[in-house]
């Protein structure tokens, strides 16, 4: 047997109730070991309260070469940001 263990992407939820965040990846033979290894590799200093692992091969990603057309629609819509609108000082905080 010399087949390499699959690669897993590791996501960790920090202390303060934020979203799980991608922190890195590791090799493991199965999901249980991936969680154990993730604990040792990525939470040695209290970084998390919850771990997700997912096989890297199961992730579908947008293509880097499509970056332009993919994200252009949101680029050109500045009116989606609050700073687009001028509110007079007299109105107060809004």
């Amino acid at each position: 047997m010399s087949s390499e263990w699959p690669l897993w992407e590791v996501f960790i939820r920090g202390q303060h109730g934020l979203n799980h965040r991608h922190v890195g990846s590791l090799h493991a033979p199965d999901p249980e070991m991936a969680i154990r290894n993730a604990r040792d590799v990525y939470t040695r200093r209290n970084e998390g309260v919850s771990i997700w692992v997912v096989k890297s091969a199961d992730i579908t990603a947008s293509s880097p070469s499509d970056k332009g057309p993919m994200f252009e629609p949101s680029n050109s819509k500045v009116y989606r940001h609050p700073t687009f609108y001028d509110i007079p000082d007299e109105v107060g905080h809004m």
């Binding site: 047997m1 087949s3 263990w5 590791l26 033979p29 040792d40 590799v41 990603a61 293509s63």
Partner: protein, 325 residues
């Protein structure tokens, strides 16, 4: 450094693409794994990150040597945590290298067969407990000097690994200095041990930064690509300037009679290490080269049954899950 003498690979890419790539690097864009990159950039990075990862892993050996003999239970727990961190750092870096298309097994194989290097510093022995102090203080100190600027390197996964590593690394240096403080302020014998450790680790630590820039032919391309941020001499100077006052505080003497403050340049003048020794260690003739590689080979071979068992267990469970569906 942890990656010394990394040879930049030549690149035979389309000049227009190269120019666009360089413009992205110059604009401090991060380059991500699936994006286009010059072949030379990819190969140089694999070599550099791989060497860096191997250094973290092999670097566990000189320190692991003292875990069972640490003077107190607390020191033992601290050293254990530090060595565990080094394993973690190796893993972050292997993963970063893997995004460039090299597999973990290939890298392991290249380390074990001697086709890939690790830092020369780990071929020196740790003879006394004071050496553990000196390694943390000087070796990790030198590593931090190099790794802090590398947080800004152009390759995204490498930069992110460096950010994680730097966060953890300052504990390493401080615990080393803490050991040195205890030894230097202890009995005359302990102080002598601390001085002896400094004597033996000083020049090998200076060698970590690699040969002088005037002899380092591969720096220019790596610096243009921002996979190297400072020159070897810049970092070495910074390290000496930072370390001398720390040695003075300990009441220890840097083993260099020519060391003196140079008001004009605002830094210390110091003696070069013996570069012939450096090249000899790289060639495999340092005091511990053979031991280190043999220890890694043994760990790999003796761990085989366990890796195989985990794989067999995973396969059995996967088969059961399929059968149950």
């Amino acid at each position: 450094m942890y990656a010394q003498m990394v040879i930049s690979e030549a690149t035979n890419d389309d000049p227009a693409k190269l120019e666009a790539f360089q413009a992205r690097v110059d604009a401090n864009d991060k380059i991500e794994p699936k994006e286009w990159m010059p072949e030379g950039y990819r190969k140089t990075l694999i070599r550099q990150i791989g060497q860096h990862a191997h250094s973290e892993i092999v670097g566990q050996l000189p320190e692991g040597n003292w875990i069972t003999r640490a003077p107190t239970l607390e020191r033992k727990a601290i050293l254990l945590a530090k060595v565990q961190d080094e394993a973690g750092h190796g893993l972050y870096l292997y993963c970063a290298a893997e995004t460039l298309g090299v597999s973990r097994d290939e890298m392991t194989e290249m380390l074990l067969s001697g086709r890939m290097k690790y830092s020369s510093i780990f071929n020196y022995p740790t003879l006394t407990w004071a050496d553990i102090g000196a390694v943390g203080w000087l070796v990790d100190g030198a590593a931090i000097m190099n790794q802090v600027p590398l947080q800004r390197t152009s390759f995204g996964p490498y930069s992110r690994a460096m950010i994680r590593i730097c966060k953890e690394e300052s504990f390493h240096q401080r615990q080393g200095y803490d050991i040195m403080m205890k030894m230097a302020k202890g009995t005359p014998e302990q102080k002598e041990m601390a001085q002896d450790a400094l004597n033996r680790f000083w020049y090998p630590s200076l060698m970590m930064f690699g040969p002088s820039d005037k002899d380092s032919v591969h720096s220019a391309q790596s610096m243009a690509w921002k996979i190297k941020i400072n020159t070897n001499d810049e970092l070495r100077q910074k390290f000496v300037d930072q370390t001398v006052p720390q040695a003075e505080y300990l009441g220890l003497t840097i083993p260099d009679p020519d060391l003196k403050w140079n008001e004009e340049k605002g830094g210390y003048d110091f003696s070069e290490p013996d570069w012939s020794e450096f090249y000899d260690v790289l060639k495999g003739n340092g005091p511990c080269n053979r031991d280190r590689i043999e220890a890694r080979q043994e760990a790999w071979e003796k761990g085989r049954w366990f890796r195989d068992a985990l794989t067999a267990h995973a396969e059995k469970r996967a088969a059961r899950r399929v059968a149950a569906e």
